[in-house]
């Protein structure tokens, strides 16, 4: 059986710089994490997965369908949605409107429906608002539905971005550093929420995360990237003890130095 999401031999170059080199990645369910030092290529990999970048080589499939060459909105429509490392909300729209935009790919209405307002339009629209309310409730922002996103505190903005991504009814959710800037307590709450999402909706979640405590606690599987290459993969415990991972994070002792291209 093929995996839900399968990337194979992904290579992405920017001019002479090889940002991602021959990375294979597959996931099926639960929470997976990608970690790695700054510049390891984590976000680039996300951008390849979600169609923002087209890889020079490699294949990405989701439910057996190729994602390479599709536009980001098409990929979202297929059921892969993401959040951004530097929060990218629609700053001047309200929280609920942000979530409604997230549902855009699921709206089966056309221009003519919007202009003539047939009964169907009101039914659909009411359904959207209701579901938007539910999603806000899920992330704990129900009472801030009418607040303009720009005015929300940082932690709320991160959670709103999550609710917006959930609006597109994804089967796979990619979260780029969702706990950045959060306290350990807030991060813990967020991870609890992610766990529940996996349990309730059967979502698969892929995280990029720097907060090691969070990663080790919540992940079913951890992948380590360094210099655009996958250097380790496995259960959190296994990865923690991996010599190459420790080396990537803490540097090498001079004795074990091996020949390697300067970065």
């Amino acid at each position: 059986m093929t995996a839900l999401f399968d990337a194979h031999g992904i290579t992405k170059r920017f001019g002479g710089l090889v940002a991602i080199n021959q990375v294979d990645y597959a996931l099926d369910r639960g929470i997976s994490s990608i970690i790695g030092p700054n510049g390891a290529g984590k976000t680039t990999l996300f951008n390849v997965f979600t169609g923002l970048y087209e890889p020079e080589a490699g294949e990405v499939t989701f439910r057996g369908r190729s994602l390479v060459g599709l536009r980001p909105d098409q990929i979202t429509a297929l059921g892969v949605c993401r959040t951004f490392q530097n929060i990218r909300l629609f700053a001047n729209m309200t929280a609920i409107e942000n979530v409604l935009v997230g549902m855009h790919a699921r709206v089966r209405l056309g221009l003519w429906d919007a202009l003539t307002h047939p009964p169907r339009f009101h039914t659909v629209e009411r359904g959207l608002w209701q579901r938007g309310g539910e999603l806000l409730e899920r992330v704990g922002l129900r009472d801030k539905a009418n607040e303009v996103a720009r005015n929300l505190p940082y932690g709320d903005q991160r959670r709103l971005e999550l609710a917006r991504a959930l609006g597109s009814e994804p089967a796979l959710l990619l979260l780029d550093e969702p706990t950045a800037g959060m306290t350990q307590g807030e991060a813990g709450h967020l991870m609890g929420l992610l766990r529940r999402l996996v349990a309730d909706l059967g979502l698969a979640i892929l995280l990029i995360e720097h907060n090691m405590r969070v990663v080790m606690e919540v992940s079913d599987r951890v992948t380590v990237l360094d210099h655009g290459e996958k250097i380790a993969e496995g259960l959190p415990r296994e990865v923690q003890g991996d010599a190459r991972v420790i080396e990537a994070y803490l540097g090498r002792s001079s004795a074990s130095r091996s020949p390697r291209a300067p970065s």
Partner: protein, 406 residues
Amino acid sequence: MIRAVAAMAAVALSVTLVDLFPRSILVFLAFQLSLLYVYVTRIPAWLRTGLLGVALLVLMPLIGLRNGYYLEVATQVGIFAALALGLNIVVGLAGLLDLGYVAFFAVGAYSWAIVGSPHANLIFGGGFPLAPGWFYVFLFVGLAVAAITGVLLGLPVMRLRGDYLAIVTLGFGEVIRVLANNLDKPINLTNGPKGITPIGRPPLPFGIPYSEGFYFLVLLIVAVVILVNRRLEDSHIGRAWEAMREDELAAQAMGVPLVRAKLLAFACGASFAGVMGVVFSAKQIFINPESFTFLESIGVLAMVILGGMGSIPGAVVGATVVTVLNLQVLKGFSLWLNELKNAGVTVLGYSLADLPTQLEPAKYERMVFGIILVLMMIFRPQGIFPARRRQRELAHTDKVPTAVVP
């Protein structure tokens, strides 16, 4: 209650004043201000709608009987309001800065002008002008042609945004004008700078005079345009446009197909201008490329910005302010200064009659307008009626699958 009485009194008083002093610009301004007051004051919705309806449908035409020029001003305001509302979709909602918007107006105007006048005989041999009744068909033809032009403009500029888009659309506006100026050969399509005349006027029911007829027609179109604008704004389409304005990349990542959304914005905005172009050409009887200059595009943009980007009442009020400023206030100001000059008034020992001709008051118009715009941008950059976020009551849903996260 007090406000309701005040609103009614304001309208009644200003109308009486217009009736007493049909030549006074100040009194007509008072009438407009009374309508604005009715719109902004807190009175029941039915009363507001009723008062505005009576004022626009009954009082304004009556004022027109006393002073036809006021009706002309009101018609012009309507035409520009529709243009501003169209541009409001493109610039205000979708965030695509379009500096060549008047091109769509021109396309609409020429689409009726060519076949609605004997000019088409030069191209097709004979059988023109079309019967005046075709005008109503051409309202839709103008809409369609302008919308298609909008898509044609949209396609090549898809990847541009901000300043780059502005420059290309500016060029596009000029291209249309230059085309209109030069398409008198090899086939004489537009009659070049000489323009096309006489353009047929539509048949009107009940023997309504043309000035009133055009006023009502424009009013009807503006009403439809406002309705369309509101419905679009409150739908998934409007939300997608706004998302695109806020963050194009995030909008696409959330499932908004950028190409389609942008083309739709261009087409919708353009179609309003196209319809008004048809009306404009019939109303003016004569059009030439001079009616569609870059300054017109900037004027419409100024209306949108002055009124408040992305705001429907803003666009209407912006159109009113700019049009009335140009047609009445600044003209009146010029006349007044001229009178002072002719009367030999001296200011601080300097006789105004010695003013060199280069500094004639009529030439201040643009400058005064510019100063107003600058002051506006300094003191109220969000516009007269900034777009307000709609506050919606969320229906309470009792069954939510999981516990609430704190």
